[in-house]
């Protein structure tokens, strides 16, 4: 897409595609995971046909696809770490100021700390995602191939559902803030361009850096 007038590129096509793969695999893992966790949601298992030579359909297919999609999630987080890691994994003093006023989301605040490309809340989300990624991938693999023995493996189930708790609640907030909560933000994941007005509201320092050529994106 040619660069639209007055719009700023907030994420490259590669970043957007990774974002969609990560998000899509995450949603699929939640769908199948909830199907496996709650007997009352057994209707989810009926969505899954037999997989030749591998699974008989229903729950068995759902479990296999959950495991395979977990691998996709595991792998697709690696480029995500390269894309967003450097701007999110390290909290500084200004981030603490941001937390003190909760970014102006909960009560009226005169001056919300500017932050960099991402604010402290977004950083916290990515840090949580990183931790949950480690938990889910490690526990998931050893649940799939339980070579650690019963007394250890059953604690992996505890950690796995703890990951569901953390990631599930963070994701709901992530969706809200990326769509209805902050109009204009969704295009970061859509065509990638945002308005300057959006930048001034959400990441003024980053806009100055980009316009001065101190960083490209």
């Amino acid at each position: 897409m040619a660069k639209p007038k007055n719009l700023i590129l907030a994420s490259t096509a590669f970043e957007r595609v990774i974002h969609w793969i990560l998000g899509g695999s995450c949603l699929f893992l939640f769908l199948t995971g909830f199907g496996l966790m709650f007997h009352s949601l057994s209707f989810i298992s009926r969505l899954f046909p037999p997989i030749p030579y591998l699974a008989a359909g229903g729950y068995e297919s759902m479990k296999l696809l959950h495991n395979l999609c977990g691998l996709l999630f595991a792998v697709s987080f690696l480029p995500a770490l390269l894309i967003w890691g450097k701007d999110t994994l390290f909290l500084d003093k200004e981030d603490m100021e941001w937390f003190k006023v909760m970014g102006g989301y909960l009560w009226e605040v005169e001056q919300v700390p500017e932050g960099g490309k991402f604010n402290a809340g977004q950083k916290l989300f990515f840090i949580a995602l990183f931790l949950v990624w480690v938990i889910m991938v490690v526990t998931g693999i050893f649940m799939w191939f339980p070579v650690l023995g019963p007394s250890l493996t059953r604690w992996l189930y505890v950690l796995h559902v703890l990951g569901v708790l953390i990631l599930g609640s963070f994701l709901v907030i992530h969706f809200y803030l990326g769509t209805y909560g902050n109009p204009g933000t969704f295009q970061v994941m859509g065509h990638g361009y945002v308005t300057k007005a959006w930048c001034r509201k959400h990441r003024p320092k980053w806009l100055r850096d980009v316009e001065a050529g101190r960083r490209s994106i």
């Binding site: 007055n6 496996l36 966790m37 007997h39 057994s42 298992s45 699974a55 729950y59 068995e60 479990k63 102006g104 989301y105 909960l106 649940m143 339980p146 019963p150 007394s151 493996t153 059953r154 604690w155 189930y157 505890v158 559902v161 703890l162 569901v164 708790l165 953390i166 599930g168 609640s169 963070f170 709901v172 907030i173 969706f175 809200y176 209805y180 909560g181 902050n182 109009p183 204009g184 933000t185 969704f186 295009q187 859509g190 945002v194 308005t195 300057k196 007005a197 959006w198 001034r200 509201k201 959400h202």
Partner: protein, 261 residues
């Protein structure tokens, strides 16, 4: 239908292993390649095709003699069964009206959660079919008024099968008759098992006999604490973001006309 219990009076067992063979025969379980470990215990452990195993323990006595202890090991059919709590597939592990806990291999998906949640290390996986297997307390016999195949084959009267209350009474009467050391094992754990032992010797002397078995803490944290909490947390986030929109409203860029998307 009344709850039934199998009583295993270990003091009467001569380790003839007729129960082990009868189990294989009735359930159509194949013989397996085994290994010589210098003991009659054969195969060395329960497997997907051996649901009933006589365990042999040699215990030296103070007088320099040897005590040879035999114990029938198999599923205890818990009232509060760890495998049933863990199983993700409705009906893949079910309870019969008589109290037996049965795995339906037609529904099992081989996730191995029952293997890891069982406090007695009973269910086993067949690597070829990727399904879990264990003793069914011969529910396909007992539903028609027959006794389990192992009980039928037991010539020593070690294994008996009957109404729950009667069997528990018999167990305590037998333990009393055997003297101070003898104990009853099963009725006090996991809300009562449907296989109950009378142990003439100290429980610690028997191989793989679990002392004070209970649903593992991890299974309780997983299924009873974190599972509902995860729903609560996700629900709270949904409700919270909804009311944030309604009360606080979205954060719009200053120049309204310039926005998009």
């Amino acid at each position: 239908m009344e709850e039934k219990v199998m009583l295993v009076d270990v003091s009467k067992c001569t380790a003839c292993r007729a129960c082990q063979v009868a189990c294989k025969q009735w359930n159509g379980l194949p013989a397996e390649k085994t290994e010589q470990r210098g003991t009659h215990q054969n195969p060395p452990d329960l497997t997907w095709a051996t649901w009933n195993l006589i365990r042999f323990t040699e215990v030296p006595t103070k007088e320099g003699n040897l005590k040879w202890l035999f114990r029938r090991d198999a599923c205890l059919h818990c009232t509060d069964a760890g495998c049933m709590r863990a199983c993700p597939v409705p009906g893949a592990i079910f309870r019969t009206p008589q109290g037996a806990v049965v795995i339906n291999q037609e529904l099992c998906i081989g996730c191995k959660m029952c293997v890891n949640a069982c406090p007695f290390e009973i269910p086993r996986i067949n690597a070829e079919t990727n399904r879990a297997y264990k003793c069914t307390l011969c529910w396909d016999r007992t539903a028609r008024g027959l006794i389990p195949a192992c009980v039928k084959a037991c010539a020593m009267g070690t294994l008996t099968f009957g109404n729950k209350e009667e069997m528990i009474q018999q167990a305590y009467a037998r333990a009393k008759a055997l003297g101070e050391k003898a104990t009853v094992y099963g009725d006090k754990y996991v809300d009562g098992t449907h296989v109950i032992y009378v142990l003439p010797e100290n429980i610690r002397l028997y191989e793989r006999m679990k002392i004070n078995p209970s649903i593992p803490l991890s299974v309780i944290l997983w299924k009873d604490v974190l599972k509902p909490l995860s729903v609560l947390a996700i629900g709270a986030a949904l409700v919270g973001t909804f009311f944030h929109y309604v009360i606080k409203g979205p954060k719009r860029p200053e120049e309204g006309g310039n926005e998009h998307g």
